[in-house]
């Protein structure tokens, strides 16, 4: 192929990708007015759910698609973020202290306190789980992340002080200065800004030196070690960053449904987040967003026709694995410019 043809080809592919991204970005930005025009305000809350799960799935993609760490326990961070918001709000409503020793911590219903707290707690938890599970790899890693997430699930089930099995209801959504989170449309835009923010930052991160090391570990960890990189530390930090982002998604979901329960961190939820990543295309950051949208919309549509939608969805997943290796994003964008 001549040089100019090559260039033209690259431009065409770039255009196709830019077109897809700009189109879907524009659609997401215009969704609330479109929904009210169409007389379907319900769409706003459905798409808020999509944005939140997209954030969770994109954070999993950071460790799975770029770092090659197949975690089947991502819902643990999602759930702990939700519980951080729920527990803080619970104590704020009770006007009781969350803890009195070694420092006094009161509850809070401010998003500026609760959301960073959710991210911090999730990052810490990811630090603990990651430091243990990153000692292994492959199948062990999958099973261990799964087991630790289930441990947290059972912990919250037996935590009677915060509702146990039944979970906690929030009295109201968090407060954010200048924004009314109780309004569905404003809450939608907050989620959208956070998702775009995460995608931007994560996009920069994977192109940075840090991101190169992480991607190198996916190809060959031994080689990265021989080059002198302390891969364990790099991977652990990446794991914690992804955990923090999933914690933020959890904080958002707690606000959206105004309810938290152990079900948020059940292992099937980890499985669903993983399905979203792979359905959309792993290692692309935008793919998981597409995957989340596809999964939730498909669930919505299929459950109109049958309550047993999973009996069709299960085999569909197997077909995706066997025949559509690069996910929906790969199909949309074409072969050349799949990554990024």
């Amino acid at each position: 192929m001549s040089e100019s043809a090559c260039k033209r080809r690259i431009r065409v592919c770039l255009d196709r990708k830019t077109f897809c991204l700009a189109g879907s970005g524009l659609l997401l930005m215009l969704l609330p007015p479109l929904a009210s025009l169409a007389g379907e305000p319900y769409l706003v809350s459905l798409f808020t759910r999509i944005l939140i799960y997209a954030l969770a799935a994109a954070s999993l993609d950071l460790i799975l698609g770029y770092g090659g760490m197949v975690s089947l326990g991502h819902a643990a961070f999602f759930g702990i973020g939700a519980y951080a918001v729920g527990i803080l709000a619970h104590h704020d409503f009770d006007e009781s202290a969350l803890m009195t020793w070694p420092l006094v911590v009161a509850g809070s219903d401010s998003a500026l306190v609760a959301w960073p707290a959710a991210m911090l707690i999730a990052a810490l938890l990811a630090g603990i789980i990651g430091s243990l599970s990153l000692r292994t790899s492959g199948m062990y890693f999958i099973m261990i992340t799964l087991a630790f997430a289930q441990m947290l699930f059972y912990f919250f089930v037996s935590l009677e002080g915060y509702g146990g099995d039944d979970g906690l209801s929030l009295f109201a959504r968090n407060t954010l200065p200048g924004v009314d989170l109780a309004d569905d449309v404003q809450f939608y835009y907050v989620c959208l800004v956070l998702l775009f923010g995460f995608l931007f930052l994560a996009g920069r991160l994977v192109e940075s030196r840090f991101g190169m090391v992480i991607r190198g570990c996916r190809e060959s960890e031994k080689r990265m070690q021989s080059l002198g990189f302390p891969t364990y530390r790099y991977k652990l930090l990446c794991f914690m960053l992804a955990g923090a982002a999933a914690g933020l998604a959890g904080a958002l979901v707690a606000n959206q449904i105004e309810y938290v329960s152990p079900g948020l961190m059940h292992w099937t939820r980890s499985g669903i987040i993983l399905v979203m990543v792979l359905l959309g295309g792993s290692g692309t950051l935008y793919g998981p967003v597409l995957g989340a949208a596809a999964f939730l919309l498909l669930e919505e549509v299929l459950s109109i026709y049958t309550e047993h939608w999973m009996v069709y969805f299960g085999p569909l997943l197997i077909l995706v694995v066997l025949f559509a290796r690069h996910g929906l994003f790969g199909v949309l964008v074409g072969k050349e410019k799949r990554h990024g």
Binding site: T136, M139, M143, H308
Partner: protein
């Protein structure tokens, strides 16, 4: 003291159930290098078939006789149709596809048997208690479960160490290509091993049927415990699965039974029960973490 012995027996009973599940799964993981999340589905299939046939015919043995081949046949069918195509794929793909299998089987059982759990009775000839340690009447059914589990362990040990097929399985595990070159039909062998694994899972399901409710999704709670067992024992090691299963069974049962008393010694009662319940539910995972810190590849790492 009597209570301790009784709880030890309960732990042993949970342990052998876990062993039946993990023996097959650890072979699938170790030999075929494929991560199979759907193993719990065969446990569920075993329990459902046994519950249905037992209810129709009134005979537990007929239920058992129907459930074991059903689990094995469905397992081999799944291996031929789906799993076989996943051997060369990445672990992520295997997770995704077998997750799809779980969704399919759970929903299918809901379609066939409805959402209401089924209940199975303990067969009348096993419904009594025996007092084989003086002073401790223990349900005969649970004794029978322990007996069956130990017999299966013995059978597997003899099969692997003394028979031709056991030797072939070990050969296939250590080097697939070489074993194939020496004339072993690897494809058939894998299908048989998978069928054996699902048969054992079905057996565990049948035995658990009269103790637990038979419902869709019942396989998943035991699947996670099975994973913990395999991680502790080491992937691919049946001996590791045996030791790991007994450890997990004991720690879980004894933790739930005795931690509340232990915590009451130094905490106010109301508080102690809550803390004890939390710690007891996490105990096996803490055990797993501790073992991982010392031996990241499990207690008995297989050579694969």
């Amino acid at each position: 003291m009597l209570l301790v012995i009784e709880q030890l027996l309960n732990g042993l009973q949970l342990g052998v159930t876990l062993f039946l599940m993990s023996a097959g799964l650890t072979l699938v993981f170790g030999i075929m290098q494929v991560i199979n999340l759907a193993h719990g589905s065969f446990y569920m299939i075993g329990a459902y078939v046994a519950a249905t046939v037992t209810a129709r015919t009134g005979s537990f043995l007929l239920g058992l006789a129907a459930a074991l081949p059903a689990a094995a046949l469905v397992g081999m069918l799944v291996e031929v149709l789906v799993l076989r195509r996943l051997y060369k794929k990445e672990h992520v793909d295997q997770v995704l596809a077998t997750f799809g299998l779980i969704m399919f089987f759970n929903e299918l059982t809901r379609i066939i048997w409805g959402r209401q759990p089924l209940f199975m009775d303990v067969p009348s000839w096993l419904s009594g208690t025996v007092e084989f340690i003086p002073g401790i009447p223990y349900p005969s059914y649970r004794i029978a479960m322990i007996g069956v589990g130990l017999l299966v362990a013995l059978f597997l040990y003899l099969m692997f160490s003394r028979t031709r097929i056991g030797m072939q399985i070990r050969a296939g595990a250590s080097n697939r290509e070489m074993a194939g070159a020496l004339g072993i039909n690897i494809r058939l062998l894998y299908t048989l091993v998978f069928g054996l694994g699902t048969l054992l899972a079905g057996l565990a399901g049948v035995m658990a049927g009269p103790i637990l409710a038979v419902e869709a999704g019942m396989g998943e709670s035991i699947l996670i415990l099975t994973f913990v067992v395999i991680v502790i024992g080491g992937i691919g090691s049946v001996r590791g699965a045996f030791i790991g299963a007994l450890l997990v069974g004991m720690v879980d049962t004894l933790g739930r039974a005795f931690l509340p008393d232990l915590f009451r010694m130094f905490l106010p009662t109301a508080h102690a029960d809550g803390v004890a319940a939390s710690v007891a539910s996490m105990s096996i995972y803490i055990l797993m973490a501790l073992i991982l810190i010392c031996r990241p590849k499990g207690l008995f790492p297989a050579h694969v």
